[in-house]
Amino acid sequence: MAKVLMKGNEAIGEAAIRAGCKNYFAYPITPQSEVAEYLVKRLPEVDGVFLQGESEVAVGYMIFGAAGAGERVMTTSSSPGISLMSEAISYIAAAQCPAVFVNIVRCGPGLGGILPAQGDYFQATKGGGHGDYHLLVLAPDGVQEAVEMTMQAFTLAEKYRGPVMILGDGLIGQMMEPVEFPEDLATAPSNKDDWATNGMSTRKSKKRNLVKSLYLDPTELNAHNLNLKAKYDQMKREEIQFEAYNADADYKVLITSYGTMSRVCRTAIDLLKEEGIEVAMLRPKTLFPFPEKAVFEAATKKSCKSVISIEMSMGQMVEDVERCVKGQRPVEFYGECGGDIPSPEKIIDIIKAMI
């Protein structure tokens, strides 16, 4: 397929359709409203469902209802909106329904700003809502990956019967880049007759299906939570994705960075290489499950003296990096979170100061 030039937000909408998702519920919020503006035109062409809900709270439950009925479904929002949806996300994780949430992150906390940021890392990877659950979190570094990951997200949501989040940011949403769409996904989720409320008349078994999260018996609830944990453990075994950049060199410093920030780091690494300074980067593409072993191994390479996590936050992923490095190397942090993305020149200065 030929490359097309698309805005990240629109490309994410198109990717969902090509992944066989014909159902989209959302509430407008900058910087991602273009997804809805794109899909309101595109979904009728595939006999799909578009609905603008009255709030992100309601949209979260529209997603829950539709996912519970066994249909592929997606919503997109940005940070404050994701906070409002987090209640529903907890229920969806507990009730084990596949659904895709896209967070085009903007600056926080509170109303914050509308420019790109990475301040929702904790919310995305550590839960966000109440109770013991995780989202599988994919972090694209540009429009092409946003497309690929959105399509993957549906497969993963169905494999694990749970919510999957794309953690982008305002730049990825607003930027146009050339994209090449992968093969379309098959349309029907495979195993929904076993659990979805898709109507007894539409399935072979006459057993009724129940989508719920209430377990009043402590033994039953503990068993339920162990089931969920087993899924998160399986994700850790099977779904970790990362990119190692300039990792073959004898680097002195290892950068950990993801998403938009990692692109700036990549440019900084290239420029430093021209000056004869070797720096590598470990870029997690899945933020949960986190590439624990890869970070440890990259950090403890003999040439590597120290690690720095560079983020558009006040220091969030760095906590996971510290955990993985296990004290074997010093772990430093640099971050900005006001909407300005640190420049390659700034990163170069920081790295030089470390050496």
Partner: protein
């Protein structure tokens, strides 16, 4: 080799579209491209800007502090960004609206009265196409015929304005070639 072009002006001057057309043509030419808008309240009538990055390899940081070239469509844009342009770059000045110049000796100024040229070609509404054509003629970033094809494609739903924009394009190129 990487070239970065900042387009800046009032909302409504066609900044985002001109930038997109350039990025689209560069993509068709086989380059890696990124189109990075400013977004937010400034979209509502204030100064808007947009950066196009064209590269022969995968684009790392799309955030550009010092662009190769600047296309300034209004005075605040010129005053705000002319000092950020890398030495040797082109600073395009829309002289229909901007009475001042950049005061830099290490860049190439391209001063074009785009409104007057567009009006002569048929309508001032094609001023952004005059600017894009003249700038590209000077900077030689993409094949002009390819860029014209991209403009035709963009306006394919409004076919009757294509001849106007083609004329405006040619006049823009002529002006740049002769000045």
């Amino acid at each position: 080799m990487q070239t970065e072009i900042k387009f800046a002006g009032f909302g409504g001057q066609g900044i985002l579209l001109s930038a997109k057309l350039l990025a689209y043509a560069a993509m068709k030419q086989g380059s890696f491209v990124a189109w990075v808008p400013s977004y937010g309240p400034e979209m509502r009538g204030g100064t808007a800007y947009c950066t196009v990055v064209i590269s022969d390899k995968l684009i790392g940081s799309p955030i550009i502090k010092n662009p190769t070239h600047l296309v300034a469509m209004n005075r605040p844009s010129l005053e705000k960004f002319s000092d950020t342009v890398k030495p040797g770059g082109i600073v395009f000045i829309n002289s229909s609206l901007i009475p001042v110049r950049s005061n830099r000796k290490d860049i190439i100024e391209l001063v074009v009265p785009i409104n007057e040229i567009a009006a002569a070609a048929g309508s001032v509404r094609a001023a952004n196409i005059v600017a894009l054509a003249a700038f590209n003629a000077k900077a030689k970033l993409v094949d002009p015929d390819l860029l014209k094809d991209c403009i035709k494609e963009e306006f394919s739903a409004k076919a009757k304005i294509i001849p106007l924009n083609m004329k405006a394009f040619d006049e823009g190129v002529n002006f740049a070639d002769n000045n």
